[in-house]
């Protein structure tokens, strides 16, 4: 740790004025900082640490992870968006503060203008589950029950106003059934309530343990990618419902990141995707690889922001 900071200081002293960093300057020549805009310990934060640990051997410079948590990731992303685009400070992001939060809350950046998207690497799964001893075998049966008993289906999702919440809410609204959403502090709490029989259904990323023990039944996946360990579970979209929002993770920098920086990180991310430790990490987190390069990711983000806005307005879920 001391070594990193000493290097950082030396490199700073040695560096010339910021303007000397031309677009074709060699990169990287000094330690790189990745801001993790979430609390330490979650999938987002841990993935950043795994990537930093692998990337430091590929790039041959220290890669330091710093937490700037706050407001669902928007504080950290907002801070990085304002920094000079020199490639020495990147930010790890999840799709929620990029695609969803700007539509439901005020955020200190424009996701389509203020960031350079470097790459995407992971998608997590958040299937809709019921208890294994419940009478509902399929999503259709649960919806039918909800139709006959308005408001009686109580359900929770990982985070209020998160991808799983919005997708599932859109599902019920499009089926014209009334349900009761119970906000929780996170997936673990949602699973605890499902296990305790306080709610009927939950959509959360913490499904692997209970699934392995046969405690829960997976009805459908709220995201767009099927789960590797439960390949028969269809996604909401596949079942004909309007939204299957993905919770994916990626890296970004301030707008105007030099092309050689983007290229360097794209190559690094490709190597990370193939690294055995990263693959192990995906398995442990019940997540799937979800690679996209800078150009594809930028296009995807723009498309998602646009279409989600339309869908939410149609469903009457957009912020007034």
């Amino acid at each position: 740790m001391l070594r990193h900071t000493a290097l950082l200081l030396l490199a700073t002293l040695a560096a010339a004025a910021p303007s000397a960093q031309a677009a074709d300057a060699p990169y990287p020549t000094k330690p790189i900082r990745i801001i993790s805009p979430f609390d330490p310990g979650g999938t987002s934060d841990l993935s950043t640490r795994v990537i930093a640990d692998i990337a430091k051997d590929i790039l041959k410079v220290p890669v330091i992870v710093e937490n700037r948590p706050g407001a669902g990731g928007t504080v950290g992303i907002g801070q990085v968006a304002k920094l000079p685009p020199d490639g020495y400070t990147l930010v790890q992001f999840s799709s929620s503060p990029i695609v969803i939060r700007p539509l439901v809350a005020n955020v200190p950046y424009d996701p389509t203008k203020d960031l350079t998207y470097v790459g995407r690497y992971l998608v997590s799964h958040s299937p809709l589950m019921v208890r294994a001893d419940s009478p509902w075998k399929t999503l259709a049966e649960l919806v039918k029950y909800a139709e006959a008993n308005p408001g009686k289906v109580r359900w929770a999702a990982g985070a209020p106003q998160g991808a799983a919440h919005l997708s599932t809410e859109a599902l019920f609204r499009s089926a014209n059934v009334k349900t009761t959403f119970v906000p929780t502090g996170g997936g673990a709490e949602a699973m605890l309530q499902l296990g305790g029989g306080q709610i009927e259904a939950a959509s959360a990323t913490d499904f692997a343990g209970p699934m392995a023990e046969g405690k829960v039944r997976l009805l459908a996946e709220s995201g767009p990618v099927r789960i590797a360990t439960a390949p028969n579970v269809q996604t909401y979209k596949e079942l004909g419902y309007p939204l299957s929002l993905a919770v994916y993770l990626g890296l970004a920098g301030p707008a105007g990141l030099p092309p050689n920086v983007v290229k360097t990180w794209d190559d690094t991310l490709k190597q990370v995707m193939e690294h055995p430790r990263f693959k192990e990490f995906l398995k442990a987190q019940n997540a799937s690889p979800y690679y996209a390069n800078s150009a594809d990711l930028t296009r995807d983000v723009k498309a998602e922001v646009g279409s989600l806005k339309d869908t939410l307005q149609q469903m009457g879920m957009a912020k007034k």
């Binding site: 740790m1 700073t12 900082r33 400070t89």
Partner: protein, 165 residues
């Protein structure tokens, strides 16, 4: 009790003000109903609690002041002698505010050094040379501990120079 009483009135007045604005804020957030509390219900209840019991304290004090005009100030165990050094208190408060509001704009070493100098020279009447030595040692030691050993990303320099980092 001339001076402590003034302080008490000010604090109670501020508390009442906070409570009142809490109630106004809660109302604009929406109280909701007992079956379905809105976002304003809990801030509202808290503000009412604050309002009622600050008023309660106020009334009790008014009564006791009229009955016993001059109770000895600050005679509680361990609190003896408090309120005897307003100059030093002012120096500390000013130093803390100075450090807080320049922490980012001047960078941590400079902000902290300034605050320490104010506390030591203006507050504690330490000789300038001695204060400088203590300040230097404190800044270097905390830098080594927090930034060096523990990797806390403290702001080191003013933002215009921060492109390097």
């Amino acid at each position: 009790m001339p001076r402590p009483a003034a302080a008490v009135w000010t604090v109670q007045g501020t508390l009442l003000l906070v409570a009142a604005s809490g109630i106004v804020g809660a109302t604009s957030l929406g109280w909701g109903s007992g079956d379905a509390p809105g976002p304003g219900m809990f801030p509202g209840i808290a503000s009412v609690l604050l309002l009622v019991f600050t008023l309660g304290g106020l009334v009790r004090q008014l009564r006791s002041t009229s009955r016993t005009p001059a109770p000895a100030a600050g005679d509680e165990a361990g609190e003896a002698g408090e309120g005897a050094n307003p100059a030093r208190l002012l120096a500390y408060a000013a130093a803390l505010l100075l450090a807080a509001f320049t922490f980012e704009s001047l960078g941590y070493p400079l902000a902290i050094a300034l605050a320490l100098m104010v506390m030591l020279v203006a507050g504690e009447r330490v000789r300038l040379a001695k204060a400088l030595v203590i300040t230097l040692l404190a800044v270097v030691a905390t830098w080594g501990l927090f930034a060096g050993l523990l990797d806390v990303p403290l702001p080191m320099v003013p933002p215009p120079l921060r492109g390097f980092f």
